[in-house]
């Protein structure tokens, strides 16, 4: 294989593996803030027990997120040096801001969140939890802004230098608020919240099925379902807004998402199907006019098809189409699960419906698969460009790195990540089997002092 293919495989492998963890941290962070807020408000020690248990799970996901995140930061330079020279001026300020505003905040207050239970007051601990959660969200902001700039570059001009042309910033805020950044940020966060929320839901459902830690599980379930429902519904809104943006700014990508070859008015929406790339058509059930309607709010308007683009400027249609439809399908399934789960919960029958609980146990996989599929669709849909319309992926490689070097590092990373994943699953399972700590129902140290009257 050539350097390009190997470098793309390595980037895809390392980023997909990394992306299992930050969404969990972001989603669990929100759940932790809610649990601790409930504890502060009610003084009920069960919320303390919940916060302690989910903090342990959070710590696990966070540690792997940090470790695999450094790889990403280095990889721009090691494998995509020409790209780094090209975008450094624009991309750099976002990355530097991420380091200063997000990573320091997150990792600093994480110390208090994990180890400060008995060292600081309840309010200070709650504040630290909020800061960790905020830091996790900040890191999503900057990296999604940078990635969105690669989709819809704005606020820059091209300057010739001794090392070739590069993009230089002309307007910082135009770069930050480039046409796709806010839609994509919102949509990404919705996916992250679901990842964390449905992990809570899944583990709680498992405890309920096994009749273990029942009170703990019921309350955790309510928090998880609440966050999950809101996030799943918002996903629909943000996803729709995102797609309208893609249609406007990256028409080739939208055409690949939807498998649309001919530019046409009254464009149909294909529900699912198979792209016949040779004959340039899609086989599957479709709703006439719906794509035009969703894109323009008017079925009689036209949507751009892939035929407007030279074959070398088109993304890989089949894969992008399938991944996009997988994401959308799971998105609707998550809404269904969350709505029914919440309804049953509200009616007070959820904890007896074992089939529903089993579905909720499996629900943890939904956001994970959808998050991965969505990102793959977004990034493959941008191909053949690394920076849309400005630089091709094949032009962004490191000039001095050979195929053998990349093969070597790819083998090394694959081995280590498989090991990491095995250890992660093993330890997560261990924590779940162990369950919440009964002793956490009676807080100690400074927490106990602060609790005062609540303890009796």
């Amino acid at each position: 294989m050539d350097v390009l293919t190997l470098s793309r495989i390595q980037f895809a492998a390392t980023i997909s593996f990394h992306y299992i963890y930050p969404p969990l941290s972001i989603g669990l962070g929100v759940a932790l803030v809610i649990m601790e807020a409930l504890w502060l408000k009610t003084g009920n020690p069960i919320y303390h027990q919940m916060a302690r248990f989910w903090t342990k799970v959070f710590a696990l996901t966070f540690a792997i997120g940090v470790a695999t995140g450094i790889v990403m930061e280095f990889e721009f330079g090691t494998n995509w040096a020409t790209y780094s020279r090209f975008v450094g001026d624009v991309f750099g300020s976002a990355l530097a801001a991420e380091g200063i505003f997000a990573f320091f905040l997150e990792s600093g207050f994480l110390a208090v969140l994990l180890f400060g239970w008995d060292k600081v007051s309840r309010k200070m601990h709650f504040f630290s939890t909020c800061m960790v959660c905020l830091g996790a969200h900040f890191s999503a902001i900057w990296i999604v802004v940078a990635n969105s700039w690669m989709q819809t570059p704005a606020g820059y001009h091209i300057v010739e230098t001794a090392n070739g042309p590069r993009a230089e910033i002309t307007d910082f805020w135009a770069m930050v608020f480039n046409p796709s950044s806010m839609d994509r940020l919102f949509h990404t966060l919705c996916g992250c919240w679901q990842a964390g929320a449905f992990l809570v839901v899944s583990v709680s459902a498992w405890y309920l099925l096994k009749h273990k830690h029942v009170e703990f599980a019921k309350r955790s379930m309510r928090v998880g379902l609440g966050v999950g429902l809101v996030a799943a519904l918002l996903s629909l809104v943000s996803g729709h807004d995102s797609a309208i943006g893609v249609a406007k700014n990256q028409p080739a990508k939208l055409a690949a998402f939807e498998g649309l070859y001919e530019t046409t008015t009254n464009a149909p929406l294909v529900l699912f199907g198979w792209v016949d790339e040779k004959n340039e058509r899609v086989v599957g059930p479709e709703i006439p006019g719906l794509l035009s309607y969703l894109t323009h709010g008017d079925a009689s308007k036209s949507v751009t098809g892939l035929n407007e683009f030279q074959p070398e400027d088109r993304p890989p249609v089949q894969r992008v189409f399938q991944l996009y439809h997988l994401m959308v399908g799971i998105g609707f399934a998550m809404i269904g699960l969350a709505v029914f789960g919440t309804y049953f919960c509200w009616r007070g029958v959820l904890f007896e419906r074992r089939w529903m609980l089993w579905l909720l146990v499996l629900s943890v996989l939904g956001p994970q698969i959808a998050n991965q599929a969505g990102w793959f669709a977004a990034e493959m849909g941008r191909q053949p460009w690394i920076v849309y319309g400005l630089m091709r992926t094949s032009e962004g490689l490191s000039a001095v790195v050979t195929a053998n070097a990349v093969l070597g590092s790819l083998v090394l990373f694959t081995f280590i990540y498989l090991l990491l994943f095995a250890v992660f699953v093993y330890l997560l399972n261990d924590k779940i089997q162990h369950g919440p700590d009964e002793a956490d129902l009676t807080p100690t140290g400074r927490l106990a002092e602060a609790m005062g009257g609540h303890r009796a």
């Binding site: 540690a63 930061e73 780094s84 200063i100 110390a111 208090v112 090392n163 490191s398 001095v400 070597g408």
Partner: protein, 343 residues
């Protein structure tokens, strides 16, 4: 914000120096504790060592992440050339850092002997290898690496393993070991502390031997890294501060003033980084043999506009970061006590 006549390239040279010095002072001690980890034999002692750095190592590593990010942003050509040119060295560094991070997290999660032994080796090995590779990288940019006219690296992986970079790698390991030993003494008590106190002297001797060899090698074989010092003899005062700070460490340790010993060690690091920066300026990566191809703060930099935006970000962000970093160290001051949340 408009910074007028301010030389932003030099400001960013300084700021990146500050970030990497901060990294050395902070992550330096936890890498050092890692390097010493296998010398403690009892499980409880190893847990205390781990928990001495437990709440802070993650934040310390962020200095490297931010340093890397700032380099990418301020001097993208340096970032691109060094990271792609030193490809395999950086892959090894990543592997070492990952292993280390995961080892800290996972070691105490299971009681089995083989489990803990495995992660102990991962933690110590990862710490030593990371420190060594960071030193080797610094040695290479000081010695000079072959760069072509476009500023691309023109050597191989083996080019990087010259004697001088390796010497700097070993010196970095010894420096971090000394720094880590002092920090560990500050965080421990009783028998373990007595043992660690004894080790400080060994680590100081190890460091001084490495440091003296490195200084001699620099004066004899790397004259360009001592040129500014020769031209401006008053700069020797920085070297003097460095030596006094190092000499002060055993003195403070023997008087049980461990905090002061730690500060001395930090001062020594600041002095060394200052000397390094002074000799490098305005170069960021020296080219050897073609000195004209060196990457400097001018030919490798981002635009003035970006440097200005980033300075604004740094001026807002850094004071906040420093404020809560200090608060967090304050919250976790004092001796390590193992409890159920410990590693």
């Amino acid at each position: 914000m408009n910074y007028g006549e301010l030389d932003l390239n030099t400001v960013w040279f300084l700021l990146i120096g500050v970030l990497f010095t901060g990294y050395a002072m902070l992550d330096g001690f936890d890498l050092g504790v890692g390097a010493l980890h296998l010398f403690t034999k009892k499980d409880e002692e190893r847990r205390i060592m781990l928990n001495a750095i437990g709440p802070v190592w993650d934040g310390n590593e962020v200095w490297l992440v931010t340093g890397g990010g700032a380099l990418f942003a301020a001097f993208p050509n340096v970032y691109a050339t060094v990271f792609s040119g030193f490809y395999f060295a950086f892959v090894l560094l990543l592997v070492a850092l990952i292993f280390r991070a995961v080892a800290i997290e996972f070691r105490s999660k299971q009681p089995m002997r083989w489990w803990r032994q495995m992660w102990d080796v991962g933690f110590a090995g990862g710490s030593i290898l990371s420190s060594f590779l960071i030193g080797v990288a610094m040695g290479n940019i000081a010695w000079g690496v072959p760069l072509d006219e476009k500023g691309e690296y023109a050597g191989t992986f083996w080019t990087l393993l010259g004697p001088y970079p390796i010497l700097l790698g070993v010196t970095t390991v010894s420096l971090f070991m000394m720094h880590g030993a002092i920090y560990a003494v500050m965080k421990t008590e009783g028998e373990l502390q007595q043992k660690l106190r004894g080790w400080i002297n060994h680590t100081i001797i190890f460091f001084i031997i490495c440091y003296a060899t490195m200084t001699m090698a620099t004066l004899i074989y790397v004259p360009h890294m001592a040129a500014r010092l020769r031209e401006n003899p008053w700069l020797f005062s920085i070297a003097l501060v460095n030596m006094l700070a190092i000499a002060n460490i055993p003195r403070e340790v023997s008087r049980q003033r461990d905090g002061r010993a730690f500060i001395s060690s930090c001062v020594a690091m600041i002095a060394m980084m200052t000397l390094f920066g002074l000799e490098m300026y305005p170069n960021l990566v020296l080219s050897n043999p073609e000195a004209a191809h060196s990457l400097t703060i001018h030919n490798a930099a981002s635009s003035q506009k970006t440097l200005g935006i980033m300075l604004t970000i740094a001026l807002i962000g850094v004071p906040i970061v420093l404020a809560y970093t200090v608060s967090i160290y304050w919250i976790f001051r004092g001796k390590v006590k193992l409890d159920k949340m410990s590693y």
